[in-house]
Amino acid sequence: MPPRTLFEKIWDAHVVAAPEGQSALLYIDLHLVHEVTSPQAFDGLRTSGRRVRQPLRTVATVDHNIPTTPRGLPITDPIAAKQIEALQKNCREFGVPLFDMDSADQGIVHIIGPELGITLPGMTIVCGDSHTSTHGAFGSLAFGIGTSEVEHVLATQCLPQKKPKTLQIHVSGKLAEGVTAKDLALGIIGQIGTDGATGHVIEYAGDTVRGLSMEARMTLCNMSIEAGARAGLIAPDDTTFAYARGRRFAPKGKDWEEAVAGWRTLASDSGAKFDRVIEIDATSLAPFVTWGTNPGMVVAVTARVPELNSFAQDADRRAAEQALAYMGLDPGTPIETITVDRVFIGSCTNSRIEDLRAAARVAKGQHVNPKVRAMVVPGSQAIKRAAEQEGLHRIFLDAGFEWRESGCSMCLGMNPDILQPGERCASTSNRNFEGRQGRGGRTHLVSPMMAAAAAIAGHFTDIRNWRFQ
């Protein structure tokens, strides 16, 4: 057999059928389900008299529209409440396991899969959510799908798929102190654009990637979709196995040993061909801040908002002009002079325990600027508990941050956590699209440390110069 990439190995192992003249039929090991993109899919099953083929390969939770106020309080939005009830009803009717609102394991779907050991190397994982790419950090092929495909997987546990192309992003060199996986992701997207990886599965490789923790790898893979990629993945290694070992749903005993032996074969063979290769020098990266209305509109914190004449393409220049008008920014403005009204630390990109530790390190002994409202939303109930055990919540609360319940929250503002028109937010989430965090809201994407620093300073500031207390 010719040398294969990691992606090709996972793909080949999951092809159920490859009918002549059709897309390959891929088996799906794990289907994650949440309240927003599933109700119409379950309705489809009912209409056609189909059942959920593999309920134990299907795992549901509520995350997108739930409030982050204390759990006992009622949901004030009746339409959101109805959607949550629909998921509860569908899970009961079709026998699908659900981590419900009151579950000790509830959390953002892309946080709890890994945290519970449901996400493991070598799997195919789908979810009606574009940030499913997060799970690629384990060396799984994980990608977002639409609701029709959700129905397809519920009914058949398979998906017909066109084989994507492969893109290796090879990162070498040491990330400077204060430069995180989020900055690496934003640096890559800034370089290749929000459609730079369309039609491709990215494999992140190189010594920088090997040196990243699982939390950091998840942040990096999470943002793959923001470069347009079908998926992003990283070959599993000892870091991966150490993370997964002993988790609730992970294999145990002899099964674990056998699983690890199999996972060790999940690396791209030497000589395997990628359709494209991009080299990134990690030492050239800085903490990044987005200035526009997509994640590719990004510069280093030490830079300025770009001048319009710096865009070669007419369409890009017009897009930048529209973005700056929306963002209320002038070309040439130094990033560090931009003040913020709100700070959001959370989302499937940056709400894991390491993210909270990093932000707390910045916040320790400091106080949120009186003009800023800042909130911390842990990705899951388990993360919230772990952070409280370490006393991180104390640091945040003492510094004037709000400490809330887990969910997607202000990443997409489907729950009451939204920006008011014109409010400017330093956010650890993944999308700075117009209106994403609330109509007229102005989002700047940053790392957790950069967000915490902005909350305290009241404006963006280079975390590399921060005086930690």
Binding site: V16, A17, G21, S23, L25, Y27, V36, T37, P39, Q40, D43, R50, Q54, L56, R57, V59, H64, N65, D77, A80, K82, Q83, R92, G95, P97, L98, D100, G128, D129, S130, G144, I145, G146, T147, S148, E149, H152, A155, T156, C158, K162, P164, D195, T198, G228, R230, F249, A250, P251, D255, N294, A315, A319, L412, M414, R431, F433, E434, G435, R436
Partner: protein, 210 residues
């Protein structure tokens, strides 16, 4: 699914690149549990002001484009969130075709499942259609999926590519779940070789049927 064979309709230009699905259908409309009725919320924040008033000069509100069923836009159309609601909104509003120089992967897949045809042309062709749809009153295109051909009857013609299987599904409006289930034997055999892990069986019991 509604089959797509050939369609002639008025073209409306949305002269923007990277139109994301948050713009096509903002999040506040994703809480509905139905599949229908999303058209009135299409491009909501661009079509309506904060107090719900129609923004008259937004392109879709201009009377000359009132009957448009073909949307032409810049590169990377449909990027961002996987929400199929974006496709439901476009289709429900009356669009049958979107033309752009590139589409985000998930959006293109979702379109295919709903009989909304995504036509990929090169930048020059998209620019030309955009120009003509701005300058020529009641500018129409005919999009033929059988011949993979686009033309306006006034000098513009182009061909586009689409993989044969997707084209076949669209032309016949096929239920692709039905197609997959034709492979029941292979799926069953795969599942015999790859059973559900014991931990998933045991630990998941607690989470069922509460």
């Amino acid at each position: 699914m509604q089959p797509f064979r050939k369609h002639t309709g008025v073209v409306v230009p949305l002269d923007k690149v990277n139109v994301d699905t948050d713009q096509i259908i903002p999040k506040q409309f994703l809480k509905r549990i139905e599949r229908t009725g999303f058209g009135e919320f299409l491009f909501y924040d661009w079509r309506f002001s904060g107090d719900g008033k129609k923004i008259a000069d937004f392109i879709l509100h201009q009377p000359r484009y009132a009957k448009a069923s073909i949307l032409v836009a810049g590169k990377n159309f449909g990027c961002g969130s996987s929400r199929e609601h974006a496709v439901w909104a476009l289709a429900d509003y009356g669009f049958r075709v979107v033309i752009a120089s590139s589409f985000a992967d998930i959006f293109a897949n979702n379109s295919l499942k709903n009989g909304l045809l995504t036509v990929r042309l090169n930048d020059e062709q998209v620019a030309e259609i955009t120009r003509r749809s701005k300058e020529i009153e009641n500018y129409q295109l005919t999009v033929d999926l059988e011949t993979l051909h686009v033309e306006d009857g006034q000098g513009f013609a182009a061909t586009f590519a689409m993989d044969e299987f997707s084209r076949h599904c669209l032309l016949d409006g096929l239920d692709d779940i039905g197609l997959t289930l034709q492979h029941e034997a292979e799926i069953g055999e795969y599942e015999t070789r790859h059973p559900v892990r014991p931990e998933m069986k045991e630990e998941m019991k607690d989470l069922l049927a509460r």
